[in-house]
């Protein structure tokens, strides 16, 4: 209970602030409407009117909740208005991109740790790749792939891999390098091969770092996929919901999609956390 309380208090505070902001931001439009109709509103009526608008500047929390519920449970999941359907489109590209990115990051980290030339030549490029604004790169990736006849999941997965390989690369390089001089000397004194030193020492040493970086990477992969969905013609995926919502001023739809994406990210990160707990416990690293 003592752990739930602070969370609840913060949550309540946010919801209260949100309602306040919704009233303040939606009031001008309600007043405008009332003035046009010539029926002045009491304060109570004004507040009520800010809660039920179809295209509010800031939808009230319960409107977003209803939008989310409609999107998730109120539609057949094959419907184009279903958040489950859009969520799946986004999730599949995210997972594909995450898998590619994590594997590429880990593979590059192995190369960097074992070869000084790779260390000097790859790292600057890896860092440079992350300084390029993804918003600028994404449309180009989509266009290039589309011109080659590849659309749908693959180009989005490439963008999400682009964002997710980096945290894994950095985390794993750090992780593979945690064994100290003494531990490496120890391996040498047993005449261990490089492969043995890697699999018996470096890899298990790096696992805590691996999981930390996978959590960052999976969230980044989701962002990458959503960004990749924006220029794709906005037909499918949570990114598409965001974009079409903003085309038509459907703020409730935007916020619902936003929360769906946040929820998806939370689930993915929690899932990795769970795997982390199980693996570290089985290794005897969790106390």
């Amino acid at each position: 209970m003592s752990r739930v309380m602070p969370v609840l208090v913060v949550l309540l505070g946010i919801v209260a602030l949100w309602y306040g902001a919704a009233v303040a931001m939606n009031a001008p439009w309600a007043r405008d409407q009332a003035a046009r109709a010539g029926t002045p509103l009491s304060t109570g009526q004004l507040i009520a009117a800010t809660m039920v608008q179809e295209r509010p500047v800031l939808p009230a929390p319960h409107q977003v909740a209803k939008g989310l519920w409609d999107g998730i449970a109120g539609q057949k999941i094959t419907s184009k208005r279903s958040l489950v359907w859009h969520g799946w489109i986004t999730l599949s590209a995210t997972l594909a991109g995450f898998a590619i990115g994590a594997l590429a990051g880990a593979a590059l980290a192995v190369a960097i740790v074992h070869s000084r030339v790779m260390d000097l030549s790859i790292m600057p490029w890896a860092i440079a790749s992350q300084t390029v604004p993804i918003l600028a790169i994404a449309p180009m990736v989509i266009v290039v792939f589309a011109s080659a006849g590849v659309t749908g999941l693959v180009p989005k997965a490439m963008i999400s891999a682009w964002l997710s390989f980096f945290p894994v690369l950095v985390g794993m390089v750090k992780g593979f390098r945690t064994p100290d001089r003494m531990q490496l000397d120890q391996m040498h004194s047993w005449s261990a091969s490089r492969a043995q030193a890697f699999f018996l020492l470096r890899l298990p040493s790096s696992l805590p770092y691996l999981f930390a970086s996978l959590k960052v990477a999976v969230a980044a992969a989701l962002v990458g996929t959503i960004v990749g969905e924006l220029p794709a013609g906005a037909t499918a995926g949570l990114g598409a919901r965001l974009l079409s919502g903003s085309y038509y001023g459907q703020t409730i739809q935007i916020w619902s999609a936003l929360f769906a994406a946040a929820g998806l990210a939370a689930v993915l990160v929690a899932l990795i956390g769970l795997i982390e707990r199980v693996v570290l416990k089985r290794m005897g690293l969790a106390r």
């Binding site: 000397d185 120890q186 391996m187 040498h188 004194s189 047993w190 005449s191 261990a192 290794m283």
Partner: protein, 255 residues
Amino acid sequence: MIEAKGVSLTFQTADGPVHALKDVNLSINKGDFVSFIGPSGCGKTTFLRTMAALERPTAGTLSVNGMTPDQARKSRAYGYVFQAPGLYPWRTIARNISLPLEIMGFSKPDREARIARVLELVELAGFGGKYPWQLSGGMQQRASIARALAFDAEILLMDEPFGALDEIVRDRLNEALLELWAKTGKTIGFVTHSIPEAVYLSTRIVVMSPRPGRISRVIESTLPRERPLEIRDTPEFIRIAHEVREGLREGHSYD
């Protein structure tokens, strides 16, 4: 068994060459317990590391069992015990001891028999299933000694293995180490900066001095091989300790 002739080792650093070892001559016989003592920078650890092929001498020759240190390492001639236990936290004590055996390709039944034997030897029988963090520092260091013994190396090289432990635990482990040495007949090279430890354990004490790292005195111990802890209060012990202290002072008078 171990023969060093004119061994020198110079590290090239940004501040110029550092003479870690200069013209070191020493021979260690089978079954000896040789301690290396001296102030930091005297090259005692460096010399141990050259014997173990963890460093390469820049001049002179060093042979271990008639082989180069590198060949000796490959033929599992020595077990090396570092300052810290260096046990893997994700492996139990038994599996930590199993680690070098796995690397060297021992079969599973053989590994299990060896683990049981060395755990017995360091009085850790029954602790094989524990993780390192469940053991005290002294027990961890004993486990690391067990690991160095598991593959039956004839030579045991120990680099300040008890340096991080308190004096009471250290006394106990010194006693246990002597018992183990008597039981196994290993040749032991032991680096320390404690005079009583060196005198209590060794058949021979090599006093070293820094800049450049070299041997300043070799003292043969006249103490019997059988040594209860009380031997440290005998005049004989105190005389040898005094001689070691003299040797250390001599080394210092150079700078």
